[in-house]
């Protein structure tokens, strides 16, 4: 299993193929619908983003509140497709990785190839398990959005799978075909 470290570099991204299982460590930023709307509005207005986007990895998650003594609550991925309309603009600005679940649209898949990025899947509905890999969490922007605020997370060996790579690979169609052909 490959180990990845953030920020992601073009060299590392070139090595990744859909279906690869990876363990990601380092810093990721959370962003869901409302945060995406603000991020894109900010960049289009020429403003400064609340985190360095070059090589950054976004995790589509709105965690539950942390209990006392815990770093974070449950923290699994939300459906990525709702972020599709915002994603190409962020990829154009240097975003390199996205973590979520579910299929991306054609524009995003094309932008992943054009800007040499990667879309990684985390297991949807495994938020308690995934939370164990989060070592630190801090709200860095939009606290008024509650669970939709942007958190900076430090993750240690977050288990992920490559869904869309820069070569046009798509695990949703490949996985299903592989199953149906071996049935």
């Amino acid at each position: 299993m490959q180990r990845l470290q953030t920020p992601l570099t073009p060299e590392v991204i070139m090595e990744l193929r859909s279906g690869d299982q990876v363990l990601l460590s380092g810093t990721v930023y959370t962003a869901r619908d409302a945060a995406h709307a603000r991020l894109v509005k900010t960049v289009l207005a020429g403003g400064e983003l609340p985190f360095p986007i070059e090589g950054a990895v976004l995790y589509y998650v709105g965690p539950t509140p942390a209990r006392p003594g815990k770093v974070i609550g449950s923290a699994g991925p939300t459906t990525s497709g709702r972020m599709d309309s915002y994603t190409p603009e962020l990829l154009r600005r240097g975003l390199k990785g996205m973590i979520g679940k579910g299929a991306r649209n054609q524009e995003v898949r094309q932008a992943i190839r054009a800007y040499q990025a990667v879309y990684l899947g985390a297991t949807g509905g495994a938020g308690a398990l995934l939370a164990q890999r989060v070592k630190a969490a801090e709200v860095i922007a939009y606290p008024e959005l509650g669970p939709e605020a942007i958190f900076r997370l430090e993750v240690d060996e977050l288990p992920l799978i490559v869904i869309n790579d820069i070569y046009g690979g798509d695990l949703y169609s490949q996985g299903r075909q592989a199953y149906l052909s071996c049935r």
């Binding site: 509140p65 609550g73 679940k101 579910g102 495994a126 164990q132 149906l180 049935r183």
Partner: protein, 289 residues
């Protein structure tokens, strides 16, 4: 407490009691799976032969165990609080509004349980209400002097891929099957398969959607009591699992764990069908007052 009204005993239930019960339901429902779910998941883990799919189901089982052991919600989407109340007609709620009492229970339960606030007060303005209220409440009047309260914390991923169609009666069972399979195809891996598929057939436009949601309350894997509907449930489960979508959509035989259908009488010109999906994190608790 009971009192006589026109010769009949009326049981009084304080609104505070409703609040306490809803609070308790919130604190229980988000950390464990609904009745029947662990069993169908175990069966799925057994029968799934595609290696990655099998691995994913085991991961989901491990997640459920961690959630219970560590008091972490099974899923970060602790949902809309869907509250279905079977209200005995010999019950009077006293000392406050039933609906506000439920909301207060949700407010307390979601805060004390470290559960996520996932509700916006207005669908256009989209400001988070900050306490996961309002709850989404349905009241059914039933015989008796008990109050049964169901809580179904419903995630948005699976709610977003749910659909309804007003079919022509001529389309019949084949039309129903086609619509359900088309819905599953559109949902694909987006809404956390393996799914539990709630289906409503018949009734009105709005009533059909509620039947589909109501179908998710049945203990998972239990068949409809009408033989022809139970048969349709079985046929649909086989057809859905033939699609090959699989756990998380990465391919496999376990796309759905169960199909539950509820039906209702309808108009001579109507054949409504609704599909309300649940992800593999189906949560449902019920308490009786």
């Amino acid at each position: 407490m009971k009192f006589q009204w026109e010769g009949r005993a009326i049981r009084q239930v304080p609104a505070e009691k409703i609040t306490a019960v809803v609070r308790e339901l919130c604190l229980e429902a988000n950390y464990r799976l609904a009745l029947g779910m662990p069993e169908v998941m175990a069966e799925a883990a057994q029968s799934e032969n595609f290696p990655m799919a099998k691995e994913i189901i085991k991961e989901l089982q491990a997640n459920a165990e961690i959630a219970w052991a560590e008091s972490q919600p099974i899923c970060q989407d602790t949902g809309m609080a869907i509250v279905i109340i079977e209200l005995g007609q010999e019950v009077q709620i006293t000392g406050g509004s039933l609906y506000l009492a439920v909301d207060e229970g949700v407010r307390q339960g979601y805060e004390e349980g470290y559960l996520r606030n996932s509700i916006v007060g207005d669908p256009i303005l989209r400001r988070n209400t900050g306490d996961n209220t309002p709850a989404f409440i349905r009241v059914e009047i039933v015989p008796g002097d008990k109050v049964r309260i169901h809580l179904l914390p419903k995630g948005s991923g699976s709610e977003n891929v749910s659909r309804l169609a007003m079919l022509k009666p001529a389309q019949g069972v084949e039309g129903i099957k086609d619509f359900v399979l088309e819905t599953m195809e559109l949902a694909g891996g987006n809404a956390c398969p393996p799914y539990v598929v709630g289906i409503g057939i018949g009734g009105t436009f709005d009533g059909c959607a509620y039947l589909a949601k109501r179908a998710l309350l049945r203990p998972v894997g239990e068949a409809n009591s009408a033989q022809h509907i139970a048969m349709l449930e079985g046929e649909l489960l086989t057809a859905i699992n033939g699609l090959g979508i699989g756990p998380q959509g990465f391919g496999g035989s376990q796309t759905a764990l169960a199909v539950h259908i509820e039906t209702a009488p309808t108009h001579i010109a109507c054949l409504p069908v609704a599909v309300n999906l649940s992800c593999h994190v189906l949560r449902h608790e019920v308490l009786e007052v």
